[in-house]
C-alpha cells in the first residue's frame, strides 16, 4: 500500500488543496478573527458563489474564475448589507451571542434550502479549458484542476494581505476588534469599518466558491462540511492572523490528503473536525495567536 510515489503525490495534492483551503478560510479569518462576527453562514455564501459560477458557466460558457471576480463586488454589497442588519438587530443591543448565532444559522439554512429548491441535490460541475489536464513527471502528477485554483487563491490571499497591512482602511479593520474606542478617537467610524471588513469577507466567498466548483463537484449541502475546514483553519491560525491562515490551511490540506490517500476518503471529513476539536481543547489561541 505505502510507496514514496504515493506519498509525494499526496503531499503535492495536499499543498494545492491547502492553498485553496486558506483562500476559503480567508473570509472567516477577517469576519470571525478580526471583526468578531461569528459568521457560520460563510461556507453557505461560498456555495452560493459556486452556484453562480455554475450558472454563468452553463448558460453563457463564462469562465468560472472570471465569474468569481465579477461577482466580488456583488458579494461585497451583500456582505455590507448583511452586516448592517446584523449590527442594527444584534450587535447594538449586545445580543450577538445567542441570537446573532441563530441568525447566521438561519441564513445558512435558507441559502442551502433555496439552492436545493432551484437546482436540486445533484452534484454540479463547470467546464473550462484547464479542467481535466495534468502535468506528469514520472509517476508524479499535478492536475491543473488543482493548480489553477491554487494560483488564484494565492493571488487573492496576497491582495487581501497587502490591503490589510498597507492601507488605512485595512489597518482600521484590524484595529476595530482590538479597540473600538481607540479607533473612534482616530476619527474612524467603527460601524462603517466593520461593514467594509464584512463586505470584504463575503466578497472573498464569491471567488472562493468559483474555485471550489473547479476543484470538486458541488451540491447545496456540502457547505456544511466546509464549516469544519474553515473554522478549523481560522482557529488553528490564531484568530485574525492572515499569514497564520495560510500555514493552517496548508497543514489541514496536507493532513487531509494523507488521510484520504492512506486510510480512505470516507475518513477525510473527520480530519478537519478532529483538528478543530484538538485545537479548541489544547491550544485555543491557535498557532499564531497572541
Amino acid at each position: 500500500m505505502f510507496s514514496v510515489e504515493l506519498l509525494v503525490n499526496a503531499l503535492i495534492a495536499g499543498v494545492l488543496l491547502g492553498g485553496f483551503y486558506a483562500a476559503v478560510s480567508l473570509g472567516l479569518t477577517v469576519s470571525f478573527g478580526q471583526l468578531n462576527i461569528v459568521n457560520i453562514a460563510h461556507p453557505a455564501f461560498i456555495i452560493l458563489g459556486s452556484y453562480i459560477a455554475y450558472m454563468c458557466n452553463s448558460l453563457w460558457g463564462l469562465d468560472p474564475i472570471l465569474t468569481g471576480i465579477i461577482f466580488i463586488p456583488v458579494f461585497f454589497l451583500i456582505g455590507a448589507g448583511a452586516y448592517r442588519l446584523y449590527y442594527e438587530s444584534f450587535e447594538r443591543k449586545d445580543d450577538e451571542a445567542l441570537r446573532g448565532l441563530a441568525f447566521f444559522f438561519g441564513v445558512m439554512f435558507i441559502i442551502e434550502v433555496a439552492l436545493i429548491m432551484v437546482y436540486g441535490v445533484d452534484f454540479r460541475t463547470v467546464q473550462a479549458s484547464y479542467i481535466g489536464q495534468s502535468w506528469k513527471a514520472g509517476g508524479i502528477g499535478v492536475p491543473t484542476r488543482m493548480f489553477v485554483p491554487f494560483c488564484v487563491a494565492i493571488a487573492m490571499f496576497t491582495a487581501v494581505y497587502l490591503y490589510m497591512s498597507r492601507t488605512f482602511n485595512g489597518r482600521a479593520i484590524k484595529a476595530v476588534a482590538q479597540d473600538r474606542l481607540a479607533l473612534q478617537l482616530m476619527g474612524a467610524d467603527p460601524v462603517k469599518i466593520k461593514q467594509l471588513g464584512f463586505g470584504i469577507s463575503i466578497g472573498t466567498a464569491a471567488l472562493a466558491g468559483a474555485l471550489l466548483i473547479i476543484i470538486i463537484p458541488v451540491e447545496p449541502s456540502v457547505g456544511r462540511l466546509y464549516i469544519g475546514q474553515v473554522f478549523a483553519i481560522a482557529v488553528l491560525a490564531g484568530l485574525g492572523s492572515i499569514p497564520g491562515t495560510l500555514v493552517a490551511g496548508l497543514i489541514l490540506g496536507i493532513a487531509e490528503s494523507l488521510v484520504s490517500t492512506f486510510f480512505g476518503p470516507s475518513w477525510a471529513p473527520a480530519v478537519a473536525f478532529g483538528i478543530l476539536l484538538a485545537a479548541l481543547a489544547f491550544r485555543p489561541q491557535g498557532l499564531f495567536g497572541r
Partner: protein, 324 residues
Amino acid sequence: MKWPALKLSPFWLCAAAIAVLGIAVTIFDLFNINTFIFFAGYVVLQYVVLATAWNIMGGYMGYVNFGTAGFFAVGAYASVVLYNLFQAPLALMIPFAGVVCALLGLAMGYLTLRLRGVFFAIATLAMAIVLETLIINWEFVGGATGAYILRSREQAPFGDYIEFLFFVMLLLAIFAVSVARWLELSRTGRGFIAIRDDEIAAECAGVPTLRLKLIATTVSGFLMGVAGAPFALYVSFIEPSSAFNLIYAVNAIAMPMIGGATTWLGPVIGALLLGTVQQVATVTISSELNLLIVGIVLVFFVIVAPEGIVGLLKKWLGGRRDDR
C-alpha cells in the same frame, strides 16, 4: 411565585391530565384517532423533547448547541447497538441512550466550556460531523448503508406499535419539560440565568460557573439522547444521513427561539406550533418549501421578536410582571 412549592401545582395537574389523556387515546382508542395522527404526533413530541433539551443550554445559559442532530443520532444508534447485541427492549434502550449522550455532553462541555461561548457552538457543529463520519465507517451499526430494526407490529395493550411509541414519547416529553422546569425554578436555574446575563459577574459573585455549565450540558445531552432512543424503532430503518439530518439542529434552535427561549413554556409552544405546521406542510406542500419556511421564520423571529411568542404574549397581556 409561591405555587411551585405547592404539592398540586397547575403544572403537575396539567402534566397528569395530559398523561391520562394519552392513555385514553392510545390504549382505549378514545375518539378513534387515525394511526397517521400518532405517526405525526410522535415527531411533534420528539421535537418538544429536543427543543426543551436545547433550551436548557441555549435559552437558560446562552450557550448555543448546533449539534442537536449529533446527540439525537447517537441516542438512536446507541439503541441500534443494544438491539444488535441482544435485541434489547425499549425500556433498556432509553436509559442507555440517555447515559451515553449525557457522557458525550459532559465530555464536550469539559473540552470547550472553559473557552468563550462561541467556541462551544463551533465545537458542537464539528462534533456532529465527526460522529457522522464515525457511524458511516462503523459496520456493526450498518455503516453508510443503514440498518434494519425489526419491531413487532403490535404492542399490548396499545394496539398498533406506533401508538405505543407515541405514548412513550409523550411520557418522555412530560419528563423533559418537568426536568427543565424544575431546573429553571431551582437554585441551579438561577445560576444559569446569572451566567447568561453576565458570566464574569456571576463568577465574581461566587456562582460555580463551570460546574453549572457542565450540569446543563450533561442534562441537555441526556434528554437529546432519550429523544433519539426510540427513533430506530419508529422508522424501522436507520441510516446516518436521516439520523444526522440538519433539520433536528435547526428545529431545536428555531422552536425555542420562536416560542421564547427564557422559560420552559417557550420551547413547548414553539415545538407544538412549528412541529405541527411542519407535519401538515410536509403532507400538503413540498418538504423543501417547508424547510425554507422554518429558516425564514427563525430569522424573522430572532430579528423582530427576540423574546418569542411568550415574550409577545407577556407584552400583550399588559406588561404583567414576570415573577418566576
